[in-house]
Subunit: 393 residues, 2 copies
Amino acid sequence: MTIPSINAERLLTDLTYLGQIGAGADGSIYRVAGSTADLAGRDWIDKTMRVAGLHTYRDETGNVFSRRQDSEGPWLLIGSHADTVPGGGYLDGAYGVIAAMEVLRTLHEADHPAAAHLETVAFWDEEGVTPQSNGGLVGSTALSNHPHIQDVHGYLELHVEQGPRMERAGLDLSAVTGIVGVRRFLVQVRGQENHAGTTPFALRADAGRVATRFSAALRDICQGVDEASIGNIGSIALEPDAPNVVPGAAKVQVEVRAGSEKSLDGIEEMLRETLQTIAAEEQCTAQMQTTSAKPVADFDTRLVDAVEEVCLHRSSKAERMLSYAGHDASVMSTRVPTAMIFVPSTGGYSHSNLEHTPDEQLVLGTQALLESVVAVSNIMLTQDVDSEHSLAA
Amino acid sequence: MTIPSINAERLLTDLTYLGQIGAGADGSIYRVAGSTADLAGRDWIDKTMRVAGLHTYRDETGNVFSRRQDSEGPWLLIGSHADTVPGGGYLDGAYGVIAAMEVLRTLHEADHPAAAHLETVAFWDEEGVTPQSNGGLVGSTALSNHPHIQDVHGYLELHVEQGPRMERAGLDLSAVTGIVGVRRFLVQVRGQENHAGTTPFALRADAGRVATRFSAALRDICQGVDEASIGNIGSIALEPDAPNVVPGAAKVQVEVRAGSEKSLDGIEEMLRETLQTIAAEEQCTAQMQTTSAKPVADFDTRLVDAVEEVCLHRSSKAERMLSYAGHDASVMSTRVPTAMIFVPSTGGYSHSNLEHTPDEQLVLGTQALLESVVAVSNIMLTQDVDSEHSLAA
């Protein structure tokens, strides 16, 4: 059976429409989970799918689902989140939701067999803006603990990259292999506060010097362990913070991201070693405390392969890549075979009104999602659908 | 004529007495310029010298002077300051004042010729604690602009080192060759604030990384230009100061101290060069702005030589050294030939109740001051006393 083409005009019109719900004067979007705009956006998604003749429903959390009236599980789930950060862009989350809606409608209208086991979702509160969000990924986490997850046998998510990598590399599409793990550390250094004039270098216990030497070493440590890893020092505080006083204490906040726990372990170990070496050289003491650790999300090999094949078929400018930002797919991958598709972000901007991707790439990405759905559905049909995690084998 | 010995018991008793004026329960001294305790301290100095049969007077600023009744100018001035920081120690300033009082009394009692042209001073407000102090050195600055300075032909000051160098080197006495110049800079870096996850290292303009790499380089730069120089980074601020955001801006406060303007120039030049190199490597821009510059005080060669000879005569553990903290002698050296003597500070502590120097070294330092007065007086007698700055030649 031939694979139908998505309706590019409908896709782009819907994107524009959802982007107007909660938009400020400068085009920044305020559709924080639970806000009036967010609820209006969800109503619009629900109504749009019902108007298209599809069955819609919401779970207790606020996730909005749609599928064919005569649909039967197990389902391949596609979607993303409908909420934004305050002052966000028109693509983060919304693109994946609307592309999923477009894919289901296209397959439904073409009466394609893949439509029978397809479900779309607009997840509740991915961004985690409010205190009760507890860091976000609320809707996908709720689904991962809901009985319905037993009837979901795979998850595909289309998203904008939110970084500059693809644009710089001239890519149209990426098959995402997984999501980096993120570890955060608080480094605390103790030295001896002292007169910056009368205390010679050799007799100092300069906590600030430990902090800066350690911070300056971060990049080489990351790159030495894993070229694809990254790290950041976003916050440094010296005490007592006076130009003529040798700092007696220092705090540094470190964040490290890598695509494997092995790399994260290696980087953490090197950081701890380096910190102790520098602290000893500077006659200080230091400790490094893990403040948070998000594990690596490894996507399903067979799904990633299928998605990659589709992407390469659609564009010669397609590659595998790792996601350096978190997504609902990260949570879903802990329960069902998962994969993602990225399209480029112009200038790498995200979480701002500068968020943009050329229309042709938005259309291309959505078509790639449709074709991935067809490919993955074929895999699913050839599997023993009764066994849980049937695609993971 | 034989050189008389100071009265060690009187010296130490007087030190204890002045140290009780303004002392808190833990022995920390609160004799901030202009406070009731400071005024009481000055009254006690004045009265003590009058009781010893000496002439005392105060100038408009609050400096307290004493000399022989029959004394005639030009005078060799000796002394230090009588005020303390809040919670200061019993030696900073007070030791130099009381030692000067002891030296004049001893020479006066022995009817030594050096007593005839000797004047003591307790300078007003060296520490500069209050806003109206304008950074301190108030009394010595006032004297340097007062007509009386024309009748002062030399200045000697005895002080505790306020740092750990002498104790570590096992020294009893130091002939101070000058006071370091101090330059302060504000470094401001501009980069590009960015998502710490999605922005690869190579595409970052990480202002924090410029700040930490630059800060970590300070010590080597100072040591490379002048081994005796020192520098300090006491304050660093990153913006927006969040663990998951690549810093878009950074501020660093740098302080550098060295014994020659040439060294300060060399260090400043290297700092500017290094900053620009690192900023360029990190795709950032940076500027370094001079926020203050205190010039180097070079003491008078002949006076320093004389003081050194005395010190070496008194102890085999005597050396020349540079002062890394400011003193009234710095101001005086701009107008009259000047030198200083240091005794060690136990543990390097100063500006706290931990300030201490063993009694034997306090006595030794005072005797060295007396002998330096005699030596410098002899130099003065052989000079054309009518020419200003007669010792500078």
